[in-house]
């Protein structure tokens, strides 16, 4: 039997439509991945901020004389962020120097995809050679809380 009907799509139409869809989907997928990265970043920033705040609250509830011994240089991980590392700095040399005033800094770095958020590129909680981009002697990160604690 010979097919004579012309109902349907021509080959050119199908190829053209497929090409348009494929081209669009590449762009759409790229943007979709970007969105997923943004969402993961947001989740991690929130989790890191909460964790840093928790650490500062802990420090403030510690007897003043034990703060440096217990917390200076403390390294920790954030449960909600895989491959994360936080570090605490307690400094009592802030000008004007005071034995009654400490400066606390909590920085949290984490790996996201193939890059690390923050200066601690190997996530070991230690400032290694080449990591201190701004030369301030501590690990800095997007999520970094600083405060001062006074002797009660």
């Amino acid at each position: 039997m010979k097919l004579t009907t012309k109902i349907g799509f021509s080959l050119v139409e199908v190829i053209l439509a497929t090409a348009i869809l494929a081209f669009a989907l590449v762009g759409i997928l790229g943007t979709y991945v970007t969105c997923l990265v943004l969402i993961t970043t947001s989740q991690n920033v929130n989790a890191a901020t909460n964790a840093a705040q928790g650490i500062i609250e802990e420090i403030r509830s510690t007897p003043f004389t034990q703060i440096i011994a217990n917390y200076n240089g403390m390294v920790f991980t954030v449960n909600d962020i895989p491959f994360s590392r936080g570090v605490v700095y307690i400094n009592n040399t802030t000008a004007p120097a005071s034995s009654d005033l400490l400066e606390a800094t909590v920085s949290i770095c984490w790996r996201q995809g193939n890059k690390v958020i923050g200066e601690d590129t190997n996530l070991n909680g230690v400032l290694d050679a080449g990591e201190d981009k701004n030369g301030n002697g501590i690990i800095d990160s997007t999520v970094q809380l600083k405060t001062r604690i006074v002797r009660i």
């Binding site: 109902i7 349907g8 799509f9 021509s10 139409e13 199908v14 053209l16 439509a17 497929t18 348009i20 869809l21 669009a24 989907l25 759409i28 943007t31 979709y32 970007t34 969105c35 943004l38 969402i39 970043t41 947001s42 989740q43 920033v45 929130n46 890191a48 901020t49 840093a52 705040q53 500062i56 004007p96 120097a97 005071s98 034995s99 009654d100 005033l101 400066e103 800094t105 301030n136 997007t142 999520v143 970094q144 809380l145 600083k146 405060t147 001062r148 604690i149 006074v150 002797r151 009660i152």
Partner: protein, 297 residues
């Protein structure tokens, strides 16, 4: 009916629908990311505001505190204001984080601080000594507030009772927030807040000028001269012997843990004038401060 081009139109429609959905998702993600960044900056600002409160609390006396931590983009500004004529102060502290783009986020903390200074009533005399040896010319000590209380010898008051803190604590305050002097520091003591001066054992610190205000503690024997423009407002505490000469002037009180000779020279007009206001102001330097209430905003 001619259906040519329908596939093309359909594919464009599908792409359009997907693009709209994706745009919604994209802007939602961007918005969420901005909220997360804002939350991080806002939390940072809150702790900067807390740093301002801590700074006011650690300062000698009661005074505003402002500055930044590490970077000028992270600032705090704490301003205390007395509540009526009470010992309570309302401290409003603002922490501000400014992003590299210039957008800033502030958080404000309001704390009520109770300021408790040692009582100025602990100091009743122009000059008070633990020794029974006090030589002075009548014109060299005055107490216009209570003329009967010009001088007292054989005092049983102790440093801890007078100031509410120990000598080592007072020295630590001077080293942290006030002025600590020792060795050869020149001919002048300019008091501010709490000043502690260590004198080498067995020696006498001999200076020409005593100025400024607050609490000055001399840990050793002390001899002071002075010119008519000199004047110290507050509490001069000597852990040793005292000798005043020339035109040295103290407006407040002097406490000596040994003997004292006021106006020891014949020609000078050294003067110690009791002043309870200056004593009260000086004692603010060792006041304890407690946060009794806290709120945000």
């Amino acid at each position: 009916m001619n259906n040519r081009g329908a596939m093309l139109v359909f594919s464009l429609l599908v792409v359009s629908v997907l693009a709209v959905l994706l745009a919604t998702f994209y802007f939602g993600s961007i918005n969420e990311n901005q909220l997360a960044t804002r939350y991080a900056d806002s939390t940072r600002a809150l702790w900067l505001a807390e740093a301002g409160i801590a700074k006011v609390k650690s300062n000698a006396g009661i005074a505003s505190a402002n500055g930044f931590i590490d970077d000028v983009r992270y600032t705090y500004n704490a301003i205390p204001a007395q509540i009526g004529a009470t010992v309570y102060y309302n401290v409003v502290s603002t922490g501000t984080v400014t992003s590299p783009s210039g957008r800033s986020i502030s958080r404000v903390v309001n704390a009520t601080m109770k300021l408790v200074a040692p009582s100025s009533a602990n100091f009743q005399y122009g000059v008070e000594t633990t020794s029974n040896v006090l030589d002075y010319k009548t014109k060299c000590i005055e107490n216009t507030e209570n003329p009967a209380n010009i001088a007292k010898t054989g005092s049983t008051q102790t440093f801890d009772n007078l100031f509410g803190i120990s000598k080592s604590e007072m020295k630590a305050i001077s080293q942290g927030l006030g002025t600590y002097l020792s060795g050869d520091f020149g001919n002048t003591i300019n008091g501010s807040g709490v000043t502690w001066v260590d004198v080498a054992p067995g020696q006498t610190l001999n200076i020409q000028h005593l100025n400024g205000s607050g609490i000055v503690v001399i840990n050793g024997n002390f001899k002071v001269n002075g010119v008519p423009t000199d004047g110290f407002d507050g509490i001069l505490y000597i852990i040793g012997q005292l000798e005043t000469l020339g035109n040295s002037a103290v407006n407040g009180t002097v406490f000596v843990e040994s003997s004292a000779a006021i106006g020891a020279d014949l020609s000078g007009s050294s003067l110690i004038s009791y002043n309870s206001t200056n004593i009260s102001n000086a004692l603010l330097g060792v006041a304890t401060k407690a946060i009794v209430s806290w709120k945000e905003g």
